[in-house]
Amino acid sequence: MTATAVGPVFAALADDTRRTVLETVGSRGSATATALASTLPVSRQAIAKHLTILQAAGLVASQRAGRETVYQVVPGSLRPLSEWAAATESAWTGRLGRLRDHLSNRRA
């Protein structure tokens, strides 16, 4: 795991509104900032900023459609975080196993 793998993704997801924007884009398949502003209690300008950050983190991709920009979730972009979770869970399972063994050895 490296900072470049998880850091920007985590930073992008640290904001509740941004997570909602990402989830909404994902549930719709694709969305413009204008469409998101009509359903979320956030201004179009604010949504555009959130989308820029999500795009910089590699979580969404955009393409022009006339005068609008359409955003889509990048498949697999959350994988670095899920890899962090899997590695961390595995590490703690190992540590707690050693703690259990250590305690039983000390009692023996």
């Binding site: 795991m1 490296t2 900072a3 998880v6 850091g7 920007p8 985590f10 930073a11 997801l13 640290a14 959350l78 975080l81 899920s82 962090w84 979770a85 961390t88 869970e89 590490a91 703690w92 399972t93 540590r95 707690l96 196993g97 050693r98 703690l99 259990r100 063994d101 250590h102 305690l103 039983s104 000390r106 009692r107």
Partner: protein, 141 residues
């Protein structure tokens, strides 16, 4: 031993285990420098008291700097730790006394909530915590 993962998602990992030991015995294993080396990592230099700094080196050589944030005797210890890449996460270990055993629960979270507090501490131990700067920059972006 029974491992139960209650809730693990992309930013939060929770693992617990029931051990055949009293809370005071488990607490000794959590707080004694010698005993920490037996389970937490290959090389552990960590004094479990609030605001103490130390390090943990895993078997694979990966090293984390540690800042202890909270200690409740025989109940709970919490710390932040971060690696060379600046990845910061928060660890909370709680002990729950059971009838003949103790449940040890670990929650590790990669999150921003604790960063201001760490940053404040970094001012006091700027040399020891120099590795924190990239982590703080990373999560405050």
């Amino acid at each position: 031993m029974e491992h139960v993962t209650d809730r693990t998602d992309s930013e939060r990992v929770e693992v617990d285990v029931e051990v055949d030991a009293r809370p005071d015995e488990v607490w000794a294993a959590l707080t004694s420098a010698d005993e920490l080396t037996a389970w937490l990592g290959a090389d552990v230099e960590l004094d479990i008291r609030p605001e103490a700094v130390g390090h943990v080196v895993d078997d694979d050589g990966s090293r984390r700097e540690v800042l202890v944030t909270d200690v409740e005797h025989e109940r709970r210890v919490a710390w932040h730790w971060w690696d060379d890449d600046g990845e910061l996460s928060s660890v909370e270990i709680t002990l729950e006394p059971l009838i003949h055993s103790t449940r040890v629960r670990v929650i590790e979270t990669i999150g921003t909530a604790s960063v201001p507090r760490v940053s404040a501490c970094a001012g006091r131990w700027s040399s020891a915590l120099s590795a924190l700067a990239p982590a703080a920059a990373l999560v405050s972006r």
